[in-house]
Subunit: 434 residues, 2 copies
């Protein structure tokens, strides 16, 4: 693994770009990052492949490093080839590069383009790697046994809906659904009263495996292209009523939001961490274990959730932070473990598949990745700086996820924002005339 | 609904085709059926759209009724346009038609072509409409409460894996996975010992809805193109260990098999039945109820499961019937109810989506749609005519699903076969050297 995604000259913190905005210390897209996304200049034009640099987007085909505009095709490249591409981008964007005159024509201000889903998404799987999330939520239902017996053995996951995944900036209507009130004899169709966000990372699969052929853990990261922020919106009241015995369905599939930039595994190389289980926990089964995983299976990403209510927006107030967490602290399973587990039964992962990590709550209550946790199941609302309170999301609320990798001796890199806004529920479809 | 998919002259049992094999009373594809599928003459050629007639495939573009070869595009047609297409096909294939000379050139023997997945599948959702299945399986886990409280209110469903759906004729390897033996302290990675089939129908979505816009039940069938046979292979031992709390995952996503022909809603019109709930059951919520649904929401399809073991194949013995069931008798929810429920929260259904019904077991034990039920959870094996016994599937077993609609006064139509074979598990991927 370390051979695949090692630290090299592209991570040198002294590197500066001729794109001046990239050198601002607050910029999330310095020359050490170089994430990939899709953009277009107008809704009737085709998506193109871009690389974020400072406040600009570099159009990849235009500089001649690739000869097509299909992100999914680019994501299939072998890791060695991707590494070459990264090195060429880094060299060409470096201050003093001879490419500057030519590449400048391939830059567009990010503020002037539309950013799309990072790729054409194949199947979407959501995992449940956040052990603090699983424990806290489990306690709400099973105070005496918060974690089920399989949790430390099986990377729990389930399939989700790919067609309703949107990109940052989307609005979605509050879902309608069946709600069974406590003590009621029958459920009612109504707008969800317990709408929530889930702070996750999304893992994009680049290289597929053939059906029937499991991916050994040593090769698992070769199949991964990069990470993005991911919000798996959840309607807790619909979920509570519908989810037995086959899992979440309408409570999750109305909308999910992903950030537009895929931060590559290459860019994340300096931010790897040892991955160790707490003493006393069972060791992973051999197909989920490797020396490389133990040495640096974790990825250190600081995460943040910000909320802006309609009242705040009207008053010109920016979103406020309501939770901070960290991927490496939150996750019980690594990226490679998820990929190996997903394929151990012969399941074929496809180019463009998206794996959600599950909610990445930290160990402390204020590090929770959902309102369900922050409000203790809706019992104790959180209070915002303007005095508003929230147990769950209200119409007009915008939720923004942020992610940032920092480490001494390296230039910090960021993920951009993953933002979406809740619209009021559509009027009921119930058929009154029949 | 009856206006959409009514009985007309294309269902006249007296109709005969100039394709002589279609007039054989045992033929599943008479002129009254006209199902759609994709075929090609060699693996390196593109898929084309075909209509099954007798033992032949009629290439649709070649006869000029459409000017492209994209099944998904055809499936988006409005129901009125699809009805026109059906009428034109019926007229042209009728004995004495003036098209005979020209259309004959567009026929290919079905035995000489490769049949593909009927369309490019979008998202795949599996439902759980078989109330006898849910009750029998529930009893194995909860003798005192076989049906969970939500069952008669919520059409229970969950998302599945689209990338591993194959077409009839496929082989797949027995899945590896974590199995927790009774009394064991740790799970083990091993080939599934409780591999099973599930007798289902697949519902293909033709017309999408926009995200945020629920589909009213009166319009639900407009979004449906047709039905096919569907086998949702299941590894019961993996499922038992992994499925809490988020539902089935690796126990289901290694393979599913669909039959190559989509029998259209138009073709099924004569086989509609009243849909009535047992006395004492709660009425469906208004968004799941309509007069048309009550009058003819059900579809009468006789279903059959056949098994051929490796020993039978070696001895030249054909597959034997191990279960018979009927869709209308098995299902607690109609096609329209599934579509409306799936979208009530604003979830967008896409062109090419596949909805599995769930296992369609009849009320009697010998009508079960899975070995889990037929063998009472693996306790009492079934005995085959050659003396072999089965609790669950063994390597080399082929399972074949069949479906047939019959009604007095109408020509019977069939679904073709949905067949697949279990191969031995791949060698373990466990990493022993690390």
């Amino acid at each position: 693994m370390s051979a695949l995604y090692g630290v090299d000259e592209t991570h040198d913190p002294a590197l500066r770009s001729w794109v001046e905005s990239a050198n601002d210390p607050a910029c999330e897209f310095p020359i050490q990052n170089l994430p990939f996304g899709r953009f277009r200049e107008a809704a009737d034009l085709d998506w193109r492949i871009g690389v974020a640099i400072g406040d600009q987007v570099l159009e990849l085909r235009r500089i001649g490093l690739i000869n097509h505009a299909e992100m999914n095709r680019l994501m299939r490249l072998k890791p060695e080839t991707r590494l070459e591409l990264r090195r060429a981008l880094s060299a060409g964007l470096r201050a003093g590069s001879g490419q500057q005159a030519r590449w400048r024509d391939a830059l567009l201000p990010m503020a002037r383009v539309q950013l799309g889903l990072p790729c054409q998404i194949g199947d979407y799987t959501d995992f449940y790697v956040g052990i603090h999330h699983a424990t806290t939520v489990g306690k709400l239902f099973r105070p005496d046994q918060p974690l089920l017996p399989n949790y430390k053995w099986v990377p729990i996951g389930y399939h989700g809906r790919a067609s309703t995944i949107g990109v940052s900036g989307q609005d979605f209507v509050r879902p309608m659904g069946q709600v069974m009130a406590a003590g009621a004899e029958a459920p009612q169709l109504m707008p969800s009263q317990r709408l929530d966000f889930e702070l996750e990372l999304g893992i994009f699969i680049g290289r597929p495996n053939a059906q029937g052929q499991a991916i050994p853990i040593e090769q698992a990261e070769e199949h991964v292209f990069g990470l993005a922020l991911f919000n798996d919106w959840s309607a807790r009241d619909l979920q509570a009523w519908e989810y037995q015995p086959l899992g979440p369905f309408l409570s999750k599939n109305f909308a999910s939001t992903v950030s537009p930039w895929m931060v590559t595994m290459e860019a994340l190389a300096p931010f790897r961490r040892a991955f160790e289980r707490p003493a006393g926990d069972p060791p992973p089964l051999p197909y989920l274990d490797s020396a490389a995983q133990r040495a640096q299976g974790a990825i250190d990403v600081d995460l943040e959730v910000r909320l802006q209510t309609a009242a705040m927006r009207a008053a010109g107030q920016p979103a406020v932070c309501i939770s901070r967490s960290n991927y490496a602290d939150a996750a019980y399973w690594t990226v490679a473990q998820l990929v190996s587990h997903h394929s151990v039964n012969g399941c074929s992962l496809s180019n463009g598949d998206l794996l959600g990590t599950g909610t990445l709550s930290g160990p402390r209550p204020d590090q929770a990745g959902s309102l369900l946790e922050l409000s203790a199941g809706g019992r104790t609302p959180i209070t915002l700086p303007n005095g508003e309170q929230r147990r769950f999301l209200e119409d007009g609320d915008s939720v923004e996820l942020h992610g940032r990798c920092e480490r001494a001796g390296y230039r910090a890199i960021g993920f951009g924002a993953c933002r979406a806004t809740v619209l009021p529920a559509a009027s009921t479809v119930a058929n009154e005339t029949d």
